[in-house]
């Protein structure tokens, strides 16, 4: 497969939604289990880091520490929901459950299956953000109503992370090697994307690197501008970065999966 064919946009029909509907049905049936992590995670982080560690941290640029990390917690949850849905969960459906094989025997194409999976990953990000936001509102660490804009944004950012995850799924030899992108990519991003301390205290080359290559950096920036009611024109740069990279990585993910599955 040439690099040109890796960037060929997929042909999609309404049937893409059938895959999304399938995953939603599974999710709804196991809702109680799925509901807990996005509810508990921000609570735990907010209590331990925000208020525990935060007791030793003076404000950051006039912002209290809990208010500083609250948008990062949403951004991290958006990242995890999208990324893990299209890595481990999609891999299990593809390889162990043969779900994709069963679906492509119907009028659906593999392009539609993969796109449906990625859209579902983005939806998981939206669901997580929706569950977390009220918790953070209760702690009065995010501003309203502007923070509600995080919800549509979660869909976009989730789409990006789900597409990134799907690329790794297309390339991984087996389920164990899926651990590599988790601790070489997701974990460093979790720590060094302006999440728990401002990017500006990092050496300049690392700041540049984070801005150019770490998607979470931009997602945190957008979330933080919204929850602190401090929107500047810089939000457009981050939104453009996220949209552009998401579009390219999405097309790449679909074509890499085609390459893996169509033989």
């Amino acid at each position: 497969m040439t690099s040109a064919s890796l960037l060929r946009p997929p042909t999609l029909t309404h049937r893409t939604w059938r895959v999304w509907q399938r995953n939603r049905l599974v999710f709804v049936r196991t809702f109680r289990v799925n509901f807990l992590p996005p509810l508990l995670e921000p609570l735990l982080y907010l209590l331990s880091l925000g208020y525990g560690l935060g007791a030793f941290v003076s404000d950051i640029g006039g912002v209290s520490y809990p208010r500083f990390i609250a948008p990062a917690l949403i951004a991290i949850s958006i990242m995890n929901a999208g990324f893990f849905e299209t890595t481990y969960a999609s891999y299990v459906r593809m390889y162990f459950q043969k779900t994709f094989d069963a679906i492509i025997a119907t009028p659906l194409s593999i392009e539609e299956v993969i796109t449906g999976e990625i859209l579902w990953g983005a939806t998981r990000s939206l669901i997580n953000a929706t569950i977390m936001l009220p918790v953070l509102v209760l702690f009065r660490v995010v501003d309203l109503p502007i923070s509600l804009a995080i919800l549509p944004f979660a869909l976009l950012a989730g789409f990006l992370f789900a597409s990134i995850g799907m690329c790794f799924t297309a390339l991984t030899p087996n389920i164990d090697t899926l651990n590599l992108p988790t601790f070489l990519f997701i974990t460093p991003m979790f720590l060094f994307s302006g999440t728990f301390f401002p990017l500006s205290i990092l050496p300049v080359p690392m700041q540049v690197f984070a801005n150019l290559f770490l998607p979470l950096t931009h997602v945190v920036k957008v979330c933080r501008m919204l929850t602190l009611s401090q929107v500047t024109p810089a939000i457009l740069i981050s939104l453009a970065w996220i949209t552009g990279v998401a579009a390219v990585v999405f097309v790449l993910a679909v074509n890499l999966m085609k390459k893996r599955l169509i033989v």
Binding site: R22, D101, I104, T106, P107, I262
Partner: protein, 304 residues
């Protein structure tokens, strides 16, 4: 495309790198018939099925399914066919009923119609009592029956089955055969692969025997038996004395493991001659079968 052909393949080739899994096969499947692909493991049967199902692109040649080119009209073709894959790929996240309902959605079948179809299909494969059961609680036979029901959810014009009864007990196998015969009598076209000769002889109007990516023979099962194996087979133990004696009698024979086989249209005379002249310990005369043809054409060497 001439009227009445569900599938037309001409010089169909599928290569994986340098290896030709299907190496120039031509055949046509008439509408309303049961057409069987026989062959040892690695013959290219499943690869051929996957090209017909539009999930594996052909390397070269012509392949039309229900009058449409597999390279350009995949969604339309897949809308009209039903597939029973070799591997059980039911959705383990769902119950029996949900498996059929979710699958219906992939074909854009309205929910009400789907529910009606589901009821009659569950009845057809005798799984009505299991509708709420999870997939992991089903026996192997039940899973295969549910896959058959799933393949019929869109009322397909062409049903493709890849080893439909592999690993099933005789009861379950006969139930599937019975259901397939019922489908044929309704006019469905059925394409199946198998390496159970009995299955092919029982079900198929016509068969091809494939090996190493090529078609070795094609025709009605009984015609192939007559052509390649004669009407009857006389078997005796494989010993040099028997061999020498058969040579004296002028009978043509073949070695088959620990037996010697004579394919003949006069089994009685041959049996008598062997009994009288060759003093064997054991002689068996039986009607020739498709299995004799199969082994004659594809050899006795193990394939994997």
């Amino acid at each position: 495309m001439p009227v009445g052909d569900a599938i037309i393949a001409e010089d169909l080739v599928k290569k994986f790198g340098d290896f030709a899994a299907v190496n120039g096969v031509s055949f046509s499947v008439h509408e309303g018939e049961v057409f069987g692909f026989l062959g040892p493991n690695g013959a290219g049967k499943t690869t051929t099925m996957r090209m017909i199902q539009c999930v594996s692109p052909k390397t070269s040649g012509r392949l039309e399914v229900l009058g449409m080119d597999v390279s350009t009209r995949q969604a339309e073709i897949k809308h009209l066919i039903g597939v029973v894959p070799q591997e059980t790929n039911l959705d383990p996240d769902f119950s029996v009923e949900e498996n059929l309902m979710v699958y219906s959605r992939y074909f854009d079948i309205p929910e009400e119609t789907a529910r009606k179809n589901m009821e009659s299909l569950l009845d057809f494969v005798q799984l009505s009592e299991k509708r709420e059961t999870g997939i992991d609680k089903l026996s192997g036979g039940m899973k295969r029956r549910l896959i058959l029901a799933r393949a019929l959810i869109n009322d397909p014009r062409l049903l493709i089955l890849d080893e439909p009864t592999v690993g099933l007990d005789p009861q379950a196998r006969h139930l599937i055969w019975d259901r397939l015969r019922a489908l044929r009598s309704r006019g469905n076209t059925i394409l199946l692969t198998t390496h159970y000769m009995e299955e092919a002889a029982h079900l198929c109007d016509r068969i091809v025997i494939m090996d190493l990516g090529r078609i070795l023979e094609m025709g009605r099962p009984q015609d192939l038996v007559r052509k390649h194996a004669g009407i009857d087979v006389v078997e005796a133990e494989n010993k040099p004395e028997v061999e020498a004696c058969l040579g004296r009698l002028g009978e043509r024979f073949e070695h088959a493991g620990d037996r010697i086989q004579v394919f003949t249209s006069r089994p009685r005379e041959v049996t008598d001659a062997i009994m009288g002249e060759c003093s064997p310990i054991e002689v068996v005369a039986r009607p020739a079968s498709l299995e004799d043809v199969f082994l004659k054409l594809t050899g006795r060497r193990l394939r994997d």
